[in-house]
């Protein structure tokens, strides 16, 4: 079966090549972050030193973690985690109703869900910020989490997935005496690990790099989010780009870990989809 090994090797090379192509700009950020102060743009033309630091230093990372950015990482982690937990619960329930339950007006509710994510969030931030401020919710974790949990795209995603679970499974469960919530929690959810992980990733990443909303509704130091903190660093008369990139690299490390762990659980549900075989 040498052709198979040959093909597999080719595939492996292709995978690594694609992966490296995507990683290259992030690698460049890391290299720049390791450069001493003022050297960010010294090696722009193509040379070995464009991609290797010739005077590496951790000073930028240290400076950035000790500053407001460090706090912002904590804030963003808290907000993102809360968003994922509450958002998954809330959206999966709605998706279940839309996929598995039959009721009058189902199409209308689905339409509402889809229309909601057609409305550009950036276009409603101003009225939404006013609503939050009139409820004195500015500069709070509530203001940051609340708008993110009713995510039309996530409901849509999960609904598409739930539609793939055959009616027979549902009916069998009902015969067994399970109520709607039991069917949801004990049958649908375990079958949906992949989709739930995808949904969690969507919710997490949306919050992790959100910028305009936190800027308008929670700019106070105690609630500052990562993208706002980084923007602040980039907005002075003399920008310390080495530090900006150090911050950006740290910003990508946490999702890297989270995603890596999450994606390992992909495919775990195949073994349990009895009725698919």
């Amino acid at each position: 079966m040498t052709t198979s090994i040959w093909l597999r090797s080719l595939r492996f090379i292709a995978i690594v090549a694609c992966g490296l192509a995507f990683l290259l700009p992030i690698w460049w950020m890391l290299v720049t972050a390791l450069r001493p102060r003022g050297e960010a743009f010294r090696y722009l033309s193509l040379s070995v030193w464009s991609f290797l630091p010739n005077n590496p230093t951790f000073a930028n990372f240290i400076a950035v973690v000790q500053g407001p950015f460090g706090r912002a990482v904590v804030n963003t982690a808290v907000v993102s985690l809360a968003t994922v937990v509450v958002g998954l619960a809330v959206c999966s329930m709605a998706a279940f109703a839309l996929a598995a339950m039959e009721f009058r007006g189902r199409a209308i509710v689905f339409a509402i869900v889809v229309v909601s994510f057609l409305v550009p969030f950036d276009a409603i931030v101003v009225p939404l910020a006013q609503i939050m401020r009139s409820g004195s919710l500015q500069n709070s974790y509530t203001a940051l989490v609340l708008p993110a949990i009713g995510n039309g795209m996530v409901v849509f995603l999960l609904r598409q997935f739930f539609l793939g679970i055959p009616k027979e499974v549902r009916e069998a469960a009902m015969i067994d005496g399970l109520g709607w919530f039991g069917i949801f929690a004990r049958i649908y959810l375990p079958l949906s690990t992949n989709a739930l992980i995808s949904a969690a990733i969507v919710l997490f990443i949306n919050q992790w790099q959100s910028y305009l909303w936190p800027l308008l509704v929670a700019p106070a130091a105690g609630y500052k989010m990562i993208a706002v903190a980084i923007a602040e660093m980039s907005a002075l008369q003399t920008v310390k780009y080495e530090q900006v990139f150090a911050a950006a690299f740290i910003t990508s490390l946490v999702p890297l870990l989270v995603l890596w762990i999450a994606l390992r659980f992909f495919g775990a549900s195949i073994a349990t989809t009895g009725s698919k075989e």
Binding site: S134, S136, A231, A235
Partner: protein, 423 residues
């Protein structure tokens, strides 16, 4: 979102804050700025020390979105927007929208504390709507080593020897012939702040005319003439196109440009760059015209919706006309208040690392002083300024990129007219 619910919200907020505060019920006052929080620490601490029942919360918002933040919070009459930095050219627009509290009561003190040429920048319809805080000035930096390599002697910093732009470009070209990568780098890459200078200097004007400065005039013959000259700097390869403003001083620092036209905040940075031997002269002017150096930075304003209006006024006055003024010297911009100005100049000189540096700083100081008194031209005091700023930034970028000057200016004229009709 009625006023009542806002008041209720504010009252609840204050009650909650009151409950969370220690026994000596402190009032919280909010300061909004686009500068780094650390820059505000000294003045905040000084005020808190003098007023122990007050706690000041500083919030920073990046400059890019600063205007949006204010607009959003004013729209909901947010009582937690109290003392805030005002981008100087936006005072007319903000005053006309009722976003600023009037300070005519301290008119005499304001006029006593600042240079006469800086006064118009604070006025709207004859009244003072903000307190003076900082200003700025552009300097022409040159790289002594690169000029020497090309056999060019250093320009003089004396007032009478101010260069014309044409002279600078010619010298820059000669330097490039000797191997320098770029002849001239403009720090702000097309932004109106710098580009306005060319047009004021040549006599083409700021692009706005009329009593209210609401009639666009960017496609006059003079404008086309000046813009064509501006384009030639890029077309002939003297200046690089499209380098982001924040990245442009690196080109000079890395020794890739003979001349650099940028702000005084670069002085400290260049001083700390080993191997960079720079000199400073005044901003050039268009031959046949007059000097018109870019200026203005921040003022301090108070919101009429502030929860603690009197306290906000008190702090604003402390920061500017009061004892807090000396802390203005700690920032990146030049203080407008005379006492702080002297302190700032002294500190700037001290960032020099050697005698050559100290001489440059003395030159720089003299140039800055002269410019601020005689040669600066503010941005136009129009309520349509932000629109002008935005449209012209894109227009200048297009012109830099080689677009046909007349067509581009005509399009800008139409866009300005159209946008102004919405005011």
């Amino acid at each position: 979102m009625t006023k009542r619910s806002v008041l209720l919200g504010a009252a609840t907020l204050m009650a909650v804050l009151g409950m969370a505060a220690p026994a000596t019920a402190k009032t919280t006052l909010h300061l909004l700025t686009a500068q780094p929080v650390e820059e505000m620490q000294p003045v905040v601490q000084a005020f808190e020390a003098a007023n122990p029942d007050v706690k000041i919360e500083t919030e920073t918002v990046p400059y890019e979105n600063y205007a949006a933040e204010i607009a959003s919070r004013m729209g909901s009459q947010d009582p937690t927007l109290e003392v805030y930095f005002v981008d100087a050219p936006q005072v007319p627009a903000m005053a006309s929208k009722g976003w600023l509290v009037n300070f005519d009561g301290v008119k005499t003190e304001i006029e006593a504390a600042i240079n006469e040429r800086a006064r118009p920048a604070l006025l709207y319809k004859g009244g003072y709507w903000a307190l003076p805080y900082t200003t700025s000035v552009q300097l022409l930096f040159y790289n002594k080593d690169l000029l020497a390599k090309a056999g060019i002697s250093n320009p003089s910093a004396a007032e009478a020897d101010r260069l014309t732009w044409q002279q600078v470009v010619d010298t820059a070209k000669n330097a490039q012939k000797a191997g320098v990568k770029w002849g001239l780098q403009l720090e702000q890459n097309g932004r109106y702040y710098q580009s306005q200078s060319f047009f004021e200097s040549s006599g083409a004007g700021p692009g706005l005319t009329g009593d209210d400065l609401l009639t666009p005039a960017v496609n006059t013959d003079k404008w086309i003439q000046t813009a064509t000259w501006y384009q030639s700097i890029f077309n002939t390869g003297v200046a690089p196109r499209n380098i982001a403003a924040e990245q442009s001083n690196d080109i000079f620092r890395n020794g890739d440009a003979a001349f650099f036209w940028g702000g005084t905040w670069n002085l400290a940075r260049f001083n700390q760059t080993p191997g960079l031997h720079y000199g400073v002269v005044a901003s050039p002017y268009i031959a046949g015209g007059k000097p018109a150096t870019p200026t203005d930075a921040w003022d301090i304003g108070v919101s009429p919706y502030a929860a603690n209006k009197d306290l906000a006024r008190k702090f604003a006055l402390f920061m500017t006309l009061g004892d807090g003024a000396k802390y203005i010297a700690l920032g990146a911009h030049i203080p407008l208040i005379a006492s702080a100005y002297d302190e700032y100049m002294k500190r700037a000189r001290d960032t020099a690392v050697d005698d050559a540096g100290k001489k440059e700083m003395t030159d720089a100081r003299d140039v800055m002083a002269y410019e601020l008194k005689y040669a600066v031209v503010s941005r136009p005091r129009s309520i349509g300024f932000v629109i002008l700023d935005d449209v012209m930034a894109r227009t200048f970028l297009d012109i830099q990129g080689g677009a046909d000057v007349k067509t581009t200016l005509d399009a800008a004229q139409n866009q300005l007219k159209s946008s102004f009709s919405r005011l």
